[in-house]
Symmetry: C3
Subunit: 278 residues, 3 copies
C-alpha cells in the first residue's frame, strides 16, 4: 500500500506527443474519480467535461474503495482537507494502487501548516503516478525548504524548484510537474518545459487544481505519466492562451477557458512543449 505504484518503464517507449494524447483522451472519454477541494469541484468537473473526460466527485470512506478501481484515474487534492477526507483519500489511493489505477496528487498549500505538509508527504509516499504542484509546494514536499508560502499562491518560481522536483521524483517514483509561468515536468531522467497560458490565469481560483484534474484525464486515457502530465499542461496552456486573447478580465477568462478546452486544436499543443533530459 505504501509502495510507489508500479509503472511500465515508459522511458523505453516512444513519447506520445500532446496532440496525440489529446486525441486519445477525446476518443476514450475516461472516467476520472476526484477527491478534491470544495472550492474547485465545479470548476474542475467542468474542465474535465470540456476536454472530453467524465468526472465523478466521490469522497466518502463508505464508497471510495468501491469506486476508485472502476475509474480510469484518481485525482487527490488536499485543498480543503480535514480528517475525514484525508482518511478517505488514503483508502482510495490504496484501492487505486491495488487495481492498477494511476493517481495524481495535488499537494495544495503544502507548507502552510504542519497538518497540511504532513498529509501531503504521507500521500506522496503512497505511489502517485504524478505529483502536480506550484514551486513552493514541490519545494516543501521535497524537503528542500520549510517555506510557508501564501495560501495556494506560488511564492517561488518554477525554475527554483527544478532540482527539488527531480529529488521528489526519485524519492517517490512519481512524475513531478511544477507549474508556473513556464511549467516543468520531470521523472528524474527526462524533462519537459511547457509554455503557454497567461498571467491572468493567476487571478482565477483553481487553475492549478484544473491542471491536476487534466493530468488525471490523460492518465485515465491510458497515457504514461510523463506524457500525461506534459499533454495536460500543454492543453491548459493552449486553452489559457486562447481564452486570454478575448477576455476582459478574470471572470470572462474563466468562461472562455472552458470554451477553449472544448474547442482545442490538438496541433496547438505540441508547439508549447520543449523536451530535454536531466
Amino acid at each position: 500500500m505504501t509502495e510507489p505504484h508500479r509503472l511500465a518503464p515508459e522511458t523505453d517507449a516512444a513519447p506520445v506527443p500532446p496532440s496525440a494524447a489529446l486525441a486519445r483522451l477525446r476518443a476514450t472519454g475516461p472516467l476520472v474519480h476526484n477527491i478534491t477541494n470544495h472550492v474547485v469541484m465545479q470548476t474542475t468537473a467542468n474542465a474535465l467535461l470540456a476536454i472530453g473526460a467524465s468526472p465523478a466527485m466521490i469522497h466518502s470512506a463508505d464508497e471510495v474503495e468501491a469506486f476508485a478501481p472502476i475509474a480510469g484515474a484518481l485525482v487527490v487534492n488536499i485543498g480543503t482537507l480535514d480528517s475525514a477526507w484525508l482518511a478517505a483519500m488514503k483508502l482510495a489511493v490504496a484501492a487505486a494502487g491495488q487495481a492498477g489505477v494511476p493517481w495524481v496528487l495535488d499537494p495544495v498549500a503544502a507548507g502552510a501548516t504542519p497538518y497540511r505538509t504532513d498529509a501531503a508527504a504521507a500521500l506522496a509516499r503512497r505511489g502517485p503516478a504524478v505529483i502536480r504542484g506550484n514551486a513552493s509546494e514541490i519545494l516543501v514536499l521535497a524537503g528542500a525548504t520549510a517555506a510557508g508560502g501564501k495560501g495556494v499562491d506560488a511564492a517561488h518560481d518554477a525554475a527554483e524548484a527544478a532540482e527539488a522536483a527531480d529529488a521528489l521524483a526519485a524519492e517517490t517514483g512519481a512524475v513531478v510537474a511544477v507549474t508556473g509561468a513556464i511549467d516543468r515536468v520531470t521523472d528524474g531522467r527526462r524533462r519537459a518545459r511547457i509554455a503557454g497560458g497567461d498571467s491572468l490565469m493567476g487571478r482565477i481560483t483553481g487553475m492549478g487544481c484544473t491542471a491536476s484534474a487534466l493530468v488525471g484525464a490523460m492518465l485515465g486515457a491510458g497515457l504514461p505519466p510523463f506524457d500525461a502530465a506534459t499533454a495536460a499542461l500543454a492543453a491548459l496552456g493552449a486553452a489559457g492562451e486562447a481564452a486570454a486573447r478575448t477576455a476582459a478580465g478574470p471572470g470572462s477568462l474563466a468562461v472562455g477557458l472552458l470554451d477553449a478546452l472544448a474547442a482545442l486544436d490538438p496541433a496547438a499543443l505540441d508547439r508549447l512543449v520543449e523536451a530535454g533530459s536531466a
Copy 2:
C-alpha cells in the same frame, strides 16, 4: 416516516400548462431547501434565483428538521454523499413529510457503488413527490438493472428507462422524471415527453441537478408533482435551447443558461411538451 408522501389525487385535476406553472413560480418566489452535492451548490442556487425561487442550502442534522417544514419544497441530491449528510437527509425528508412539504429525490450516480445504490433506494422509499434521474439511475432504482454506469453520465437512453420509470412510480408513489435527449415524466398513468435543450448541456456539470432543483421550485410554488416536473423540464429545455444558440462552448453555455432562465418567455415552454397516457 417511510410511507409515500400523501398526494392530492392530481390526476383528477386539470393539468397546469408549463407556461402557467412558470408564471405561478415567479409570482410565488418559493423558498427551496436543498441538501445537495458540493459540485453543484452554486450552480443550482443560481438557477433557482434565475427562475425566480429563493434557494437555501442547509445540510446539518442540527437544523434540517427545523428548516425543512418552513420551506415550500425540499430537494435531496446524493451527488457527494457521506454518512453525515445521508443521516441529515433522512431527518429532513421525515420532517418535510410530516409538515406536508413535497420533496424531490435526485439519485445521482445510483448504481456506481453499492453504498450509493442503497442510499438512493432507502430515500426513494420515504415518499418523494418526484424522483428525477437519468436513464441509468432510474433503471438502477427500479431494480430493472444492476448497471454501473460511468459516474453521473447517462449510459442508457431515456426511452429504455420508460418501463422502469413506470414501475418505480408504482412502487414509490412518486412522479418519476427521466432526463435525456428527450425527457419523460410519468406517474404510472399519465406520461409527458419534453423536448428542448441541447447536446452541449452534457458538457456542463450539474444540468441534471439543476433540473431537480427546478422541479423543487415548481413544487414549492404549489404545483402538483406531475405538472411541476413537466414544467421544470420544459423551462430548462427552453433555456438550454436559447442559450445554445449563442454559446461558443460549455463555458458560455453555462452563463447563458442563467441569463435565459431569468428571461424565459412562458409561452416557449408549452410547445416543448407532448402529453400522453400509459
Copy 3:
C-alpha cells in the same frame, strides 16, 4: 477569548477614503483566511483574487489555529454550517484574536433556525472586527426581532435595521455593516451610507458573502474596520454597477462582476459613499 478584539481607537484617526483603501489593498495583496460556506467558496475566492487579495479556504480543526495567525484577516461565514465547522470557527477566531488578526462575521440566515441564530450570536460575542449581514440577519443578531426570514434573502430593508446595527455595534464592539439597496456601516458613533450596485445582484447567489469577503480583504490590508467595511462595500457597489451596464441577466452579471472588480477605478468608489454621524 470571548472579549471583543482590541481595536486601535480608529475614530481619532483620519478616515481613509475608499479609493485609497483600494490602492492599499492592491499594493498589499493580503492573505485572507476564509471559513465559509460551500455555495460561495469559488465565488468569493474569485472575487478576492479579482480585487487583488490572496484567498485561502481552510476549515479543518486540525489546522485553522495554525493558519489564522499568519493571515492578514479571517472571514467566518455560517452559510452551510454544521457542528464540525462551527467548532473550527471558534478555534480560528480565538487564534485570530490572540494574534491580533481582525476577522469578519457573516451571520448568513441568522433567524432561520434556532441552531443558526445561536451559532451567529455565539460568534458575534467573540470579538469580530466587522459584522456584515442583511437587515434581517442584523435585526436577529441584535435581538431586535425574532424574524425568520426566507433563507438568505433580505426580508427587511436596510433602513429598518439601522437602530439594531447601532445596538449590535455597541454590544459587540464590532463595526456593523447592513447591506441592501443602500448599504449602511456604523460603529455606533460614525455612520456611512454606500450607494451603487444593481437590483440584478439579488439574482446571483453569494453577493452578501462576497461583500463580507471583500471586507476581509480590506482588513487584511491594514485598514481600520470602519474604513475597511465602507471601502469594501463601495468596491462591490461600483463593480456591480459597472457589470450591470452590459449584463444580459444574472449569469453574465456574475462574470462581469469579476471582470469589473479586477478593473475597478479607485476614483469610482468615493462618490458612492456618504458619511454621517450618529
